[in-house]
Amino acid sequence: MLKINNLKAGIEDNQILRGINLEIKAGEVHAIMGPNGSGKSTLASVIAGKEEYEVEGGSIDFEGVDLLDLTPEERAHKGVFLSFQYPVEIPGISVSNFIKTSINERRKAAGLESMTAKNLLKMLKEKMELLSIDKGYLSRNMNEGFSGGEKKRNEIFQMAMLEPKLSILDETDSGLDIDALRIVANGVNKLRTKDNATIVITHYQRLLDYIIPDFVHVLYKGKIVKSGGKELALELEEKGYDWITKESDKQWA
């Protein structure tokens, strides 16, 4: 589904990603871990198409198309979804209005009619149940005055509504207490199918107790320096990142 090939990107003169290679197949969950500043969020932003990052080389093949040739909205239309580490507050637009606009813009791009109000409401209700969200939430302004946990839950709610093929969860666990974490992880798990894939970006192993990855990658200084199965996450939890980063530093020296 996704094949990242030698991706190099940075911001202004500062190179952050220094040759990322990653392949993800439908149905898989990949965890990307790594110390702070290793480039995890940059990778997420570059896949989603944030324009302030300059791509210096490489490609991101998504179902036969290079995402780098597409605008952020076109990537979303293809089925890419980024759950933001810091979701943006948009006063003046309700959650329901925002989601309705997102869905209908995607449908428009696919040449489909707008979703009927009836179908939309039905779907909203269904997905709200999935994520234990109460009804009053729909009329609140997008992320305005939301707690950290509410913002993250709102991200997963949008993911549930937009039904993407590839979801990138950027530090979805930060700001969540254990109950909220369980609800969000449970939601993510229920949305898993054999046709979609998930990239879970996290600093801590904790989230991976709930969302079990098929593969774990360690990102350090803009490169994937180690990959393994879910047991790698447990090893990292126990030993920290030092043993990997030191080894990489030695190699690069």
Partner: protein, 406 residues
């Protein structure tokens, strides 16, 4: 020739009362205000008044379909065509007629021009203890070309009564027009009045719109102004609170592009104690458009315990658009709460990326954020039909096919 000469020649062909002659002479002596006048510092009439607007009217017939195209389809409609009242509703407790003479303040050249020569307009009087449930829609159509016209209206709302209006001034051809409009609203004790102005006239139209509101004890009056169309718009909105516990609310949304110009001048005169005023003006400027906001709040010595709030927020969405914003507070009472704020900014890039990452195209994302920006003022309008029109006009103006309602 210019407009002022045309006015002079026209006035020589008609007979005027001594009083009106006096007002006219006072106008003719001073002429239209210029940018040397503090209240017109950012707003020049020079180009407009040098044009050769005619005063005589040669009306054309109007199609019913034209009327419905521009109306919000309320049941109760007052319809004017070239100044003539052609339709007015029958409402229990409400007396409606065409133009009736009344006195207004005479400290302003443009008001004096209106008071001396205007013979068109309406007079609406609401009896005591009358709640008018249905909105009254007022439509002024102009079919004549290159015309200078004036309207002079009075609304008197009796004690314990309630009424709501929606008003539009609409040209039915695309030629230049110049309207000098005035409405005086007298709110008696315990009244509740809402006046909505949809200013979406054709791109060559020029409007000077004056509204004076006089309020007595416990009255509540809202004036909402939505500016989408027109070439040049100047709104002078004045509130005078002459009783305790009054509330005056002003909401404004301007969305301008190309070479459009709009100036909102508001003045709230707090003369009595325990009153409130809330003012929220939102401006969105595209292309080479230009906006002016001047909000003056006067708190007289007797106006203790008042609460006055004013905000003017502006979005400049192009390199060439400009806004001049000026709050003016004069406070002569010592136990009052007055606050004001003014912002000028652009759309937030983070929010734009956030929306685009959800599949919302860049133009649509800008439109949604612009709508979000304006919605705070739009949401204060109680008449849902007006809110819908505002949403639709905003989407049209930003060239997107979006429905903001849910």
């Amino acid at each position: 020739m210019g407009l002022i000469n045309n006015i002079k020649s026209y006035s020589e062909t008609i007979s005027l009362s001594t009083e009106k002659k006096g007002l006219l002479n006072s106008f003719l002596e001073n002429g239209f205000p210029t940018i040397k006048d503090e209240d017109w510092k950012y707003t020049s009439l020079k180009r407009i008044i040098s044009e050769d607007f005619s005063i005589e009217k040669n009306g054309n017939d109007i199609d019913a379909s034209e009327i419905s195209k521009h109306s919000l389809s309320f049941k109760n409609q007052l319809i004017f065509v070239d100044g003539e009242l052609i339709s007015s509703p029958q409402i229990k407790g409400v007396t409606i007629s065409g133009y009736a003479d009344f006195e207004s303040r005479n400290n302003d050249a443009i008001m004096n021009l209106n008071a001396s020569l205007c013979k068109n307009g309406f007079s609406i009087s609401v009896a005591k203890n009358t709640v008018v449930e249905q909105v009254i829609e007022i439509l002024f159509f102009t079919t004549t070309e290159n015309n200078f016209s004036q309207y002079r209206n009075q609304i008197i709302v009796g004690e314990n009564s309630e009424i709501k209006f929606v008003e539009k001034i609409q040209n039915l051809n695309n030629s230049t027009s110049f309207v000098n409009y005035f409405t005086q609203i007298n709110c008696d004790k315990n009244t509740n009045v809402e006046f909505n102005k949809i200013q979406n006239n054709t791109s060559n139209s020029i409007l000077i719109d004056n509204v004076d509101v006089y309020q007595k004890d416990n009255s509540n009056c809202d004036v909402n102004t939505l500016i989408f169309g027109g070439n040049f718009t100047r709104n002078n909105l004045n509130f005078e609170q002459n009783g305790n516990n009054c509330e005056s609310n002003m909401n404004g949304v301007s969305v301008l592009d190309d070479n459009q110009f709009a100036d909102n001048h508001t003045f709230v005169d707090h003369k009595s104690a325990h009153c409130r005023s809330n003012e929220m003006y939102k401006g969105v400027y595209l292309g080479k458009s230009k906006g002016v906001f001047n909000g003056k709040i006067m708190v007289r010595p007797d106006a203790q315990k008042i609460d006055a709030f004013q905000s003017n927020n502006n979005l400049l969405l192009s390199e060439d658009s400009t806004i001049d914003s000026k709050p003016q507070l004069e406070i002569y009472a010592d136990d009052v709460k007055c606050s004001h704020g003014c912002t000028i900014g652009q759309l937030d890039d983070e929010a734009l990326f956030y929306m685009r990452s959800r599949g919302i195209g860049v133009e649509e994302a800008k439109a949604v954020l612009t709508y979000a920006f304006a919605s705070e003022a739009i949401d204060n309008i109680s008449v849902s039909e007006v809110r819908l029109v505002a949403q639709k006009l905003l989407a049209d103006k930003l060239n997107v096919d979006l429905d903001f309602s849910l």
